[in-house]
Symmetry: C2
Subunit: 347 residues, 2 copies
DNA sequence: TTGAAAGCGCTAACAC
DNA sequence: GTGTTAGCGCTTTCAA
């Protein structure tokens, strides 16, 4: 047994440990541990001495060591597609808020929709033994998800969906229906749908399906060539959309799959001398802050972001704190239509 | 010594450990460790067996345990004021990208400018033994920072400044000078400055000082009452600004301390029938993505966000990987003016 | 080329 | 009330 002697080397800086505190206050480490955590029973006098030693040394417990024995890290991973998309960023902000209110610290991974990055970032989260993972607006392929579910680590999908995991998302059917009905009520009959390639595939499919169903319910025949992809980050993109809009029987309104796309779509259209809403009406989806700016004035289907975040954290906490084996909890939240200046009657 | 016997309880799920791998492949844990890390020398045959066991068990090394012995977590903390501010979000995104390219995982804390939250979040980061901390656009008081510097944990200040820590920020003097000169060249003489209360105090002071100096260099006498605070998140704020603008000798141009404020300022002004740039010209600071949207068209002083993020991560890595004791490295980056539609000659 | 053993800093029975 | 002890899962000498 080697005695722990401070060799005095000034270069080898060592943070004080629970042993140092114990030594300085002349008690055992269990006692220190007890005063730190407020467990067990320690006399007022010893507690006082220990507290002094802690202050004197500037002791801070090592979460790494604690986590190792507790098999619990109080870390949650948040995997997000693109923090430059305000919807994602605003959601991450809220999730971090809820999580830290419950003593969790948040590991954030921005995947940019790259499947390989996604896999390796999640792998890192798993090695760090996060207590749970939130997949936001998840654009990855299902293989990643099903692998994750096999790991027995609590997972919640936020603003996206899987039948086999806890989920919380807005009701796409209702949301898209709201958008379409609003346009139809304004008199539109030729309505196109534009999706974001970075959007999660399931959500995208759900919104496309919802879009077609909503048209049918309004007595309008959907045309598949009127559902297009627009990559707002690709310079020079959108040529097929512009081609569509240049046709005689062009759409008079567009439902964009999210606000990020919708707002860039306004820019694209106006750059090509197509006025919004005079020539084309535009509805977004998400309800991000910028859509409310007077200059933008985007009519949009707003998601209840606070509820989304809070529910997500609650779901995760429930799994973490009371075991895995409940069936998946699925929450559908109601979106609401916010009418602003980007929609009007067709010319 | 208790033998490790699987008691077969199905409820107690245990992830496979290095011991399980060792047992299954019939080697010692040191050997497993060696093949995992590619160190030491193991025969091709044993490596093969170990690899098979790893695959069979779905073994994933426990970073918590590794970090404990290595005294290194490969975690970096990022403390950010407000992820709803696109500048912050875009910076976090880039930092996470750089960091993960170097095998670091990012812990994100959104403080919302609350000093108490700030302190407790940083405390959590420290307990988790992050290898370094990046303070973004840091709005906190200096006490937090000086405490942090006493902790001997690598800290980098991004887009904010301290004489005693590694910093990387844009040159506020130059940036504000660019903005003011642009306005003066357009013919403006009555120029106001609007700051964001959430902005880091040092940066705010620096920009205010830079603003006054720039005016003087253009032969304009600064008036202190023309530097105001506008809190874009406070509904019904900005009354003092509107009062100022209603005066006869109102300013014909405003330099906003950041884009977030500038963009909300446009909304505020236009809500009050003051057209931008016809009645008042507006210059922002940051160069966030939305400022480039045609509907917004904000003239702004753009920060080199990629450089900011890359330098920040490099600085942190240097401290982490080669010791603490170098003097603080201070990087001033050059901003550039991006002229768009929000500025024009005075009426 | 491989293994035994000693920790990393902490918690949690269980003695005393 | 307080201390002893045995790990948590890993890395790292040092022998064999």
């Amino acid at each position: 047994m080697t005695a722990k002697i401070d060799d005095g080397a000034p270069s080898a800086f060592r943070r004080p440990t629970i042993n140092d505190v114990a030594a300085l206050s002349g008690v055992s480490k269990s006692t220190v541990s007890n005063v730190m955590r407020g467990t067990g029973s320690v006399s007022a006098a010893t507690r006082e001495r220990v507290l002094e030693a802690i202050a004197a040394l500037g002791y801070r417990p090592n979460a790494t060591a604690r986590n190792l024995v507790l098999r619990r890290t109080n870390l949650i991973g948040v995997v997000v597609g693109d923090l430059a998309n305000a919807f994602d960023a605003e959601l991450v902000k809220r999730i971090e808020q809820c999580a830290s209110a419950h003593e969790y610290t948040t590991l954030v991974c921005n995947t940019g929709g790259h499947a390989d990055l996604e896999a390796s970032r999640i792998e890192a989260l798993l090695e760090h033994r996060v207590d749970g993972i939130a997949l936001l607006d998840f654009s990855g392929d299902r293989a990643v998800i099903s692998k994750l579910l096999g790991e027995r680590v609590p997972v919640v999908m936020v603003s996206c969906w899987s039948d086999y995991a806890d989920c919380v998302a807005v009701d796409d059917m209702v949301g898209i229906e709201l958008a379409v009905r609003h346009l139809v009520e304004l008199g539109h009959e030729r309505i196109a749908h534009v999706v974001d390639p970075l959007m999660e595939a399931g959500t995208r499919r759900a919104r496309v399906a919802a879009f077609e169903r909503a048209l049918l319910r309004s007595g309008i025949a959907p045309r598949s060539e009127w559902t297009l992809v627009y990559d707002a980050n690709e310079t020079g993109g959108g040529s097929d959309l512009l081609a569509l809009v240049a046709r005689d029987d062009h759409p008079t309104a567009i439902v964009a799959a999210n606000d990020y796309t919708a707002i860039r779509l306004i820019a694209l259209l106006e750059r090509n001398a197509i006025a919004v809403p005079r020539d084309i009406s535009l509805v977004g989806f998400d309800g991000i802050d910028v859509s409310a700016l007077s200059r933008i004035g985007l009519t949009t289907v707003a998601q209840p972001r606070d509820d989304l975040a809070r529910t997500a954290v609650d779901l995760l906490r429930a799994r973490i704190e009371s075991g895995y084996d409940a069936p998946p909890a699925q929450h559908r939240l109601k979106p609401r239509l916010v009418v602003r200046g980007s929609t009007g009657p067709p010319r």
